[in-house]
C-alpha cells in the first residue's frame, strides 16, 4: 500500500509541471440511456478542455469502482470523478485519495461518507425538478379548474418520492388544481400506457382529465399513445408535463403531443470541471453540493432542434 502511494505521489510530482490534466472517471455502468449520455458528455467535455480522461465502467459493482479509484490514485491523476453506485462503503478509498491529495468530485449521486473526504458533489435536486413541473402547470392553467393524473416512478424509489413531493410544492396554494389519481408506472413506457388507459377509463373516458404529470418522459410517451388510442388529442385535450428531457419527448413536443419537460441534465461533468479549474487555479474550495440547473423546455423551445442535438448522445 505504502509503495503504491509513493508511486502515486511520484507520478503526481511529475504531472504537476505538465499542462494537460489527467482525470479519472469511475462510471457506474450503462444501465440507462441517461447514463450513456452522461458518459458521452463527460468524454466530450474532457476533450473540449484538453484533459486526458481515464474512463472506467464499473458494470454496477462497487468493488470495480473501488479498484478503479485505487488505480487512479496509483497513476496519480489530477482529479477523480466518481458516480457512486451505492451510498455506503466509500470511507477507506476516499481517505486514500485524500492522502494522495487528489480531489474527488461526486457526480449525480451522493455518498454517506464525511464530506471532507471529497471536494464537492454535482447533482440535480429531484424535489426541485418536480417543483419546476408543478409551477409550469400552475402558470399554464391559470385560474381554470384542472384535474391532474400522476404517473409515479417505481414505488419507494427516491426519484418517485421526491418528484411527487416537488410537484405538490409547485402547485401548492392553487385550489383549482387537484391531483385526482396517482399510480405507479414503474418508469417504463409499457406501464405508462397501461396505467394511463385505466386513468382514462376511470375518469369518464378522459374528458375529466385536464393534465398528466409523469415522473419521467418514457411513461409520458406511453401515456401519449393511450390518449391517442382513446380518441383524444394529447397536448391539447390533456396537457402533458414530464421530467428528464430525453430525445423522444422532444419529438412528441415537436408534434404537439407533449407540452413540457424538465431537464435532468446528463452534463454533470461541466460544472464539475468548472469547480476543479477554480480549485487548481487558486485553491478555491467549492460548496459541498453544486446543483445543476433543472431547465424547463416547452414547445416554444425548438423541440426539433433539441431532438437533433440529443439523439446521438447515446440516450
Amino acid at each position: 500500500m505504502t509503495r503504491m502511494l509513493l508511486a502515486g505521489a511520484a507520478l503526481l510530482a511529475l504531472s504537476v509541471g505538465a499542462s494537460a490534466q489527467t482525470i479519472g472517471f469511475s462510471q457506474i455502468g450503462s444501465e440507462s440511456g441517461w447514463r450513456a449520455a452522461e458518459t458521452t458528455l463527460t468524454k466530450q467535455q474532457a476533450e473540449e478542455r484538453g484533459y486526458t480522461l481515464q474512463f472506467s465502467d464499473a458494470q454496477q459493482r462497487q468493488e470495480n469502482q473501488i479498484a478503479a479509484i485505487r488505480s487512479f490514485v496509483a497513476q496519480g491523476v489530477d482529479a477523480i470523478l466518481l458516480a457512486p453506485v451505492v451510498a455506503t462503503g466509500w470511507d477507506a478509498v476516499l481517505q486514500e485519495a485524500k492522502e494522495a491529495e487528489i480531489p474527488v468530485v461526486l457526480l449525480d449521486r451522493q455518498v454517506d461518507s464525511s464530506d471532507d473526504l471529497y471536494l464537492t458533489a454535482v447533482g440535480s435536486d429531484l424535489v426541485h425538478e418536480g417543483k419546476v413541473a408543478g409551477e409550469w402547470l400552475a402558470k399554464e392553467v391559470g385560474d381554470n379548474k384542472c384535474r391532474v393524473v400522476e404517473l409515479q416512478g417505481t414505488t419507494g424509489s427516491s426519484p418517485a418520492i421526491d418528484r411527487a413531493k416537488g410537484f405538490r410544492d409547485g402547485i401548492a396554494g392553487k385550489a383549482n388544481i387537484e391531483i385526482v389519481r396517482s399510480q405507479t408506472g414503474d418508469f417504463t413506457r409499457a406501464l405508462g400506457k397501461t396505467v394511463m388507459e385505466s386513468f382514462l377509463q376511470a375518469e369518464g373516458g378522459g374528458k375529466d382529465i385536464c393534465a398528466l404529470y409523469a415522473h419521467n418522459d418514457d411513461m409520458a410517451i406511453g401515456a401519449i399513445q393511450a390518449i391517442k388510442e382513446a380518441g383524444l388529442k394529447p397536448g391539447q385535450d390533456i396537457k402533458i408535463v414530464s421530467i428528464d428531457a430525453v430525445p423522444d419527448i422532444f419529438q412528441a413536443m415537436a408534434a404537439g403531443e407533449a407540452n413540457a419537460t424538465v431537464e435532468l441534465t446528463p452534463n454533470m461533468a461541466g460544472p464539475a470541471f468548472d469547480a476543479l479549474e477554480k480549485f487548481w487555479k487558486d485553491g478555491t474550495v467549492p460548496p459541498k453540493f453544486i446543483q445543476t440547473e433543472s431547465k424547463l423546455y416547452t414547445q416554444a423551445d425548438d423541440p426539433q432542434g433539441e431532438y437533433e442535438r440529443r439523439k446521438d448522445l447515446g440516450y
Binding site: S32, S182, T194, Q201, D218, A230
Partner: protein, 338 residues
C-alpha cells in the same frame, strides 16, 4: 366440452368472485360501450392486457405438463420484440419482422429444449441461463436504447382492432383454441401428459420423449415471441430492459391458478387462460380502484393467497373428511337415541 367445463368450474367461480370484488370498488367495471370503431371499457382492457400472460401461459402449460418449467419466456419476449423492432426499422417489412421475431422465439425454445432433453440439465436451471443472459442479447440488438418504430402495420399487432375487438385479444384466444384443439383432437396432449408423469416409462412405451420435450420448449418460445411482438407493437418500441420483465412468474402463476400441477401430468389450457384473466382482472382492478401504489403488490399477494388456499387439494380433502365425520356422528347420535 362438458368435461372441460366441469374441470374449470372452480376457476370460473373464482373469476366471477374477483370481478364482483372489483365491481364493488369500481361500479362501472362491467360497462362496455362502442365508440364507432371499437369496444371500450375496463373489461375490454382486461381482455387486451391479459394477452402477454395468456400467450406465455399457453406455452408454459405445456412445458409444466412435461414436469418442466420455462423461466426464460419473459426474456424471450424481450429478444423477439427487439428483433421485430430492429427488422421493421431495417426495412424487412411486416412479414420479415414477424417472421424473424418468431424465428428468434423458436430458436430460443430449441436451445432450452436441447439443454433439457439432450444434455439433461434440470429445466429450472437450463431456462435460467437464457433468462439471465437473454436480456443482454436483446440489449445488443437494440444497442441499449428503446428502439422505436412508426410502421402502422406492426403497431396494429398491439393496438389495432378487428370488428371492434382488440387484436391482442383475438390473438391470444385464437392461439389458445388452436393449441388446445391440437392437443385434444390428436394424441399429442396425451403423449405430453405421459412424458410428464414418467418420462422413462413413456419412452419404453414408444413415445419419442426427447423430440417431444424439444417441441414443447419450442412451442413455449413460439408463444413468447407472439407475446413479445404484441408488447413491442403496443408501445411502438422495443424496451430490452423492461419488456416481459418478471412475466414468466405471472405466467407460472396463471398455470397454477388454472389448477395445473407443477409436478406435470394432466393439464388444462382453458384453466390457464382463466388464470391469466384472473390475474389481469386483479391488476386492472387495483389500478381502477385508485388505491395508493404502495398497496398494489400487497393487495395482489393477498388475493392470490386466498385463491390458492381455496384451491388447495389438502384443504378440500380436510373439508370432505370433516363433513363425513359430522355426518357419521350425526348418524350415530340418531341411532343411539331410541
Amino acid at each position: 366440452m362438458g368435461q372441460t367445463f366441469r374441470r374449470i368450474t372452480p376457476q370460473l367461480v373464482t373469476l366471477a368472485l374477483v370481478v364482483l370484488l372489483v365491481t364493488v370498488f369500481f361500479p362501472n367495471f362491467l360497462a362496455v360501450s362502442f365508440d364507432g370503431t371499437r369496444f371500450v371499457g375496463p373489461v375490454v382492457d382486461v381482455l387486451k392486457r391479459s394477452a402477454p400472460v395468456a400467450l406465455l401461459g399457453v406455452g408454459m402449460t405445456l412445458v409444466i405438463a412435461t414436469r418442466g418449467i420455462d423461466l426464460s419466456v419473459g426474456t424471450v419476449m424481450a429478444i423477439s420484440g427487439a428483433v421485430a423492432a430492429w427488422a421493421i426499422t431495417s426495412g424487412y417489412g411486416l412479414v420479415g419482422a414477424v417472421g424473424l421475431a418468431i424465428g428468434a422465439g423458436l430458436l430460443a425454445g430449441l436451445w432450452n429444449g436441447c439443454l433439457v432433453a439432450i444434455v439433461g440439465i434440470q429445466p429450472i436451471v437450463a431456462t435460467l441461463i437464457l433468462m439471465t443472459s437473454g436480456r443482454g442479447i436483446a440489449q445488443l440488438i437494440t444497442e441499449g436504447r428503446i428502439l422505436t418504430f412508426s410502421d402502422p402495420n406492426l403497431a396494429f399487432a398491439g393496438s389495432g382492432s378487428v370488428l371492434g375487438v382488440p387484436f391482442p385479444t383475438i390473438l391470444w384466444i385464437a392461439t389458445a383454441v388452436v393449441v388446445a384443439l391440437l392437443m385434444r383432437r390428436t394424441a399429442l396432449g396425451m403423449l405430453i401428459e405421459a412424458t410428464g408423469i414418467n418420462r422413462a416409462a413413456s419412452a419404453l412405451a414408444g413415445v419419442n420423449a426427447t423430440v417431444l420435450l424439444i417441441a414443447v420448449y419450442m412451442a413455449s418460445g413460439f408463444c413468447a415471441s407472439l407475446a413479445g411482438i404484441v408488447a413491442t407493437a403496443d408501445i411502438r418500441g422495443a424496451d430490452a430492459n423492461n419488456a416481459g420483465l418478471w412475466l414468466e412468474l405471472d405466467a407460472i402463476l396463471a398455470v397454477v391458478i388454472g389448477g395445473n400441477s407443477l409436478l406435470g401430468g394432466r393439464f388444462s389450457i382453458a384453466g390457464t387462460m382463466i388464470g391469466a384473466l384472473i390475474i389481469q382482472t386483479i391488476n386492472t382492478g387495483i389500478m381502477l380502484s385508485g388505491f395508493p401504489s404502495e398497496y398494489n403488490l400487497v393487495i395482489k399477494a393477498v388475493l392470490v393467497l386466498i385463491i390458492l388456499v381455496l384451491q388447495s387439494p389438502n384443504l378440500a380433502a380436510d373439508w370432505l373428511f370433516l363433513k363425513s365425520m359430522l355426518k357419521a356422528r350425526r348418524a350415530n347420535v340418531r341411532s343411539e337415541t331410541p
